[in-house]
């Protein structure tokens, strides 16, 4: 008998339960209740976000597959396609950092290879609390080890990413994992159950009791009770996934299957339901045939388990034995557990006895959609108020620069990325230390660039502008290596949608992203939404992270951020404004998260990016680096010190008249620092003028010091030492 307590424990409201009864025309049984609870969870149903997500542009010249499949797909020429997606694994990673992060990587890899693509590069976007918080070191070490432990063992390089620290994430970290694969355009597979009578085949690891209700857990806020949810976190086995990857790719060389999908959140249930939904069919499963890791599992547990490294596929009838043979070669289970039916009913049997019978539509298109109340946070006006006259100008900006380079948000992330294999598959042309990673594609001229960006602080201060800036920065990072954007995948990490302020932030971020995507011409092809990122009623900064993929017509023409040779001219594309709102400087030096984020004009942004791209394509750019956290002085310092060889100095003269701190550390958008040979300066100026981008020569590479007017006169070796050790030093202090 289903009591109101049982219903509530499944995360379903009374109203939702009544809707279930209406849809079924009867009370559900316990197993069916479990199925509804995961399929209607925020994580699987997008019930609060759906109406907003439709606002995002999803079409473009290169788009082959937009949102709605396991991953998005864009055309990259020569009959090839890039298949990519980013997904969050925030809740599990906070509860159990190593396994949570590891299975996040495992899940996103499956989303990509299930479409017929060989995964060739991963990124990740991480947010942790302040180093003052006792758990930060533990969480950081665990997450990084988990990402490495899974990604390294499966042989997919982690070529880039970002890490950001702020108190806002003290009790709710973010782990967003991205993978890109390459497929032949003609050999793309989808998660569809078609062909009545076709067998449904289960492949991969056996099913255990791990991860039951993971999707529901991911759809709730944290409290002190969260520690007790550790058993809902799955345990990863990268070895089995590696076998599964190779076996699936072998299978996909054949014509034996009609559809395939990974078992991710909500396991067997969501994979089979979604495949039936997309196929316009029903499925019938015999749960007694599912390979089990332990005896005595109930149908409820089998349907809801989130055991990892499992896939569901629909084969052509009569080809079952051939499918099995391929998996046997890799020592994997492949078992027929059901068939495709015509009646659009989701039916599960257990040893011949029916345990669930639900119309597919009731779990998918009929799932609730909420237009939740929205309200602009009352505190926002006060937060946005920033009178620069009340901010004391630092007596010594050189010291402020050193403080910024030491900030864990700006300091080198080598401690993190050296734990990731970023080279395997021998395609990595530019690895994790640049604005964007660049990989080659063997056998063709073009290359791909990948980046992931997002600034929660900006979104907290103005979610609309923050949404714009996240997309703009990602595109600018691609431009800085010489790549034009093809598409993006996003993870939208927010607090509880039941909080009107959070829903307002969400809607504003989407509008901002939308406007930036339209002007910059970047379609959204995949992504996910992660709500309920809050603990004890305090939401995180609204944090959209944007993973963008771009193409370089000739991979050898890529550009890196660091200065190349003494005598080169340093040029600023874009314009510096007197603004400090939301900056890393304001946070680090003055302890403030305040003001409005930097102003942006998307047409100017586009002009600056196009100027940079054109100059790179003409082959005259020696280095290019986006100006972001820490402003111009930090960007210039990074150009001097962030390269793989001996640091190079520079003499810089800035003409703008404004406060020194705003000039050096303000985070004005739409700026790229480039360097060119002296004889190419006029050419660069012409290109910038044609594109309508502001351009000015601001100095020259050379010497052993970074000097900016009389304000900064520092040996680059000293700057490098501070920047190189900022993060590692804090980890060792713990």
């Amino acid at each position: 008998m289903l009591t109101p307590e049982i219903v509530a424990a499944h995360g379903l409201t009374d109203e939702e339960y009544r809707k279930i009864v209406d849809l079924l025309g009867r009370e559900p049984n316990y197993t069916e209740l479990g199925v509804f609870s995961v399929m209607w969870s925020e994580h699987c149903s997008y019930k609060s976000s759906k109406p907003f997500l439709k606002r995002l542009p999803t079409k473009g010249k290169a788009v082959i597959q937009g949102p709605g499949e396991n991953a998005g797909i864009v055309d990259i020429g020569n009959g090839l396609a890039a298949v990519f997606k980013m997904e969050s694994h925030n809740h599990p990673s906070f509860i159990e950092p190593y396994q949570g992060a590891a299975t996040g990587v495992g899940g996103i890899l499956r989303d990509v290879f299930t479409m017929g693509a060989r995964p060739v590069a991963s990124l990740n976007s991480l947010r942790f609390g302040s180093f003052d918080h006792p758990r930060t070191r533990y969480l950081l070490s665990g997450v990084v080890a988990g990402i490495g432990g899974y990604g390294n063992s499966i042989g997919v390089p982690t070529v880039g990413g970002e890490v950001f620290f702020d108190e806002s994430y003290n009790a709710n970290i973010l782990v967003n994992a991205f993978t890109l694969g390459i497929a032949k355009k003609r050999r793309i597979f989808k998660g569809r159950a078609t062909g009545v009578g076709n067998p449904v085949i289960y492949v991969g690891a056996k099913t255990g009791r791990d991860g039951i209700h993971g999707a529901t857990m991911a759809s709730e806020s944290f409290s002190e009770e969260s520690e007790k949810k550790r058993p809902t976190v799955q345990v990863g086995d990268p070895f089995t996934e590696k076998l599964l990857l190779e076996a699936c790719l072998d299978l996909m060389k054949t014509d034996l299957i009609v559809g395939i999908q990974d078992m991710g959140a909500a396991g067997l249930t969501s994979s089979s339901v979604e495949m039936a939904e997309r196929g316009g069919t029903g499925v019938e499963l015999e749960l007694g045939r599912v390979p089990l890791r332990e005896a005595g599992m109930t149908p409820y547990e089998i349907l809801l388990s989130e055991s990892q490294e499992r896939m569901l596929l629909v084969a052509k009838k009569g080809r079952e034995e051939q499918v099995k043979k391929i998996f046997q070669r890799w020592d994997l289970d492949a078992v027929v557990i059901g068939k495709v039916t015509k009646d659009r009913i989701y039916r599960a049997l257990f040893n011949g006895v029916e345990v669930a019978r639900i119309p597919v539509a009731a779990l998918t298109s009929e799932a609730p959609v909420y237009h939740r109340p929205m309200e602009r946070p009352a505190a926002l006006d006060e937060l946005q108020r920033l009178d620069l006259d009340t901010i004391p100008a630092p007596a010594d900006v050189a010291t402020a620069l050193k403080l910024l380079l030491d900030s864990p948000n700006i300091a080198s992330k080598e401690w993190v990325y050296r734990q990731y294999d970023h080279l395997v598959r021998s395609n990595t042309v530019v690895g994790p230390s640049a604005d964007a990673a660049v990989i080659r594609i063997k056998g063709v001229k073009q290359g791909l660039a990948l980046t992931v960006d997002g600034n929660g602080r900006y979104c907290f201060l103005d979610p609309y502008v923050g949404g714009i800036l996240a997309v703009a920065e990602a595109a600018r990072n691609l431009a800085a290596v010489g790549a034009r954007p093809l598409g993006l995948s996003d993870c939208l990490n927010f607090g509880s949608p039941e909080r009107p302020e959070v829903m307002w932030q969400f809607s504003q971020v989407i509008e901002g992203m939308r406007d930036a995507c339209v002007v910059l011409g970047v379609p959204v092809v995949s992504g996910n939404v992660s709500f309920y990122n809050e603990t004890d009623g305090v939401p995180i900064f609204p944090t959209p992270t944007i993973a963008m993929v771009g193409i370089l017509p000739r991979v050898e023409r890529h550009v890196t951020p660091w200065f190349k040779a003494a005598g080169d001219i340093v040029v600023l594309l874009g314009r510096t404004r007197e603004e400090l709102g939301g900056s890393e400087y304001l946070k680090i030096v003055h302890g403030l998260v305040k003001g409005t984020p930097p102003w942006i004009d998307l047409r100017l942004e586009r002009a600056v990016q196009h100027a940079c791209l054109k100059a790179i394509e003409k082959g005259i750019v020696r280095s290019a680096h986006d100006v972001s956290d820490g402003g111009l002085a930090v960007a210039l310092a990074e150009c001097c010190i962030a390269g793989p060889y001996k640091p190079l100095g520079a003499r810089i003269e800035l003409r703008e008249m404004m406060r020194a701190d705003a000039l050096l550390f303000g985070e004005s958008q739409s700026r790229i620092v480039v360097s060119v040979k002296e004889e190419d300066l006029e050419r660069l100026k012409q290109i910038a003028a044609q594109e309508g981008a502001p351009v000015q020569a601001i100095g020259e590479v050379g010497g052993s010091r970074l000097s900016i007017q009389q304000l900064v006169q520092l040996p680059v070796e000293e700057l490098r030492s501070i920047w190189a050790h900022g993060l590692e030093r804090r980890l060792k202090e713990g």
């Binding site: 063992s153 020592d331 294999d421 395997v424 990595t428």
Partner: protein, 238 residues
């Protein structure tokens, strides 16, 4: 000559070696499935990097029991050339084809970064294209690459000149800071007494083209090609 690259379940760098040999060096190369027998036409067998059988036990401890390894042991016994990089090196140590052992990095962390290596000996089929004392820049990427040998073995390795590569700094000095994993005596690669089996932790296959940052890895492969060209293969052609 013909190359064979073994594919263990969990091999990751098999594709990298294959691609380097086939596309960059235009060699005849084939994948060898770990459950199969070793094809007798093969001149050099490569055990690639990766995580054979997941390496949930000691690295390479399971890999050495793959069916093909029996043939590899016999092939090496006949003087056949065997190259093991990273997980391949670990597997060769586990199989007893190379002396010593590889244990957890001193840092207890996986490490992926470029290192400088000094070529210590050149009278082997794996290093003949290099000059003695020459520096190579290759990447390492491993969690268990700390080479261990006891004093007796260490002396024997030195006496027989079996240490082929050492981790050094950019100036060629084998200082502790240049050692990415705590290997004893900064040892990065060793050969057997017969000098036909070579294992190294760095990855030459990931440094064979300038666009990847270094092509120093070619020194290793071109040494092997030169050795086979000279007809040294007669020694083991059965």
């Amino acid at each position: 000559m013909r190359w064979g690259v073994i594919v263990f379940p969990g091999s990751c760098d098999d594709h990298d070696v294959y691609d380097c040999l086939k596309r960059v060096l235009k060699q005849k190369v084939e994948f060898l499935w770990h459950k199969d027998r070793l094809n007798r036409n093969i001149d050099c067998v490569v055990l690639p990097g990766g995580f054979s059988y997941g390496d949930y036990l000691r690295c390479g401890a399971m890999g050495r029991f793959s069916p093909i390894m029996q043939d590899v042991v016999e092939f090496a016994g006949r003087g056949g050339l065997v190259l093991g990089t990273c997980n391949g090196f670990q597997t060769l140590c586990e199989a007893g084809l190379l002396p010593g052992a590889l244990v957890r990095n001193a840092s207890l962390q996986f490490v992926c970064r470029p290192v400088h290596l000094r070529v210590e000996e050149t009278d082997t089929p794996f290093t003949s294209a290099a000059k003695k004392g020459q520096l190579l820049k290759l990447p390492v990427k491993h969690g268990e690459g700390c080479y261990y040998a006891d004093d007796v073995l260490l002396k024997r390795l030195q006496k027989n000149r079996q240490v082929l590569l050492r981790y050094v700094d950019a100036k060629g000095r084998p200082v502790p800071g240049a050692n990415p994993n705590g290997s004893i005596d900064n040892i990065a690669g060793v050969c057997n007494e017969g000098r036909n089996v070579f294992g190294l932790m760095p990855h030459p296959e990931d440094a064979c083209e300038k666009i990847l940052g270094s092509d120093d890895g070619l020194k290793i492969f071109s040494s092997i090609i030169a050795a086979c060209g000279k007809g040294e293969k007669k020694a083991w052609a059965g």
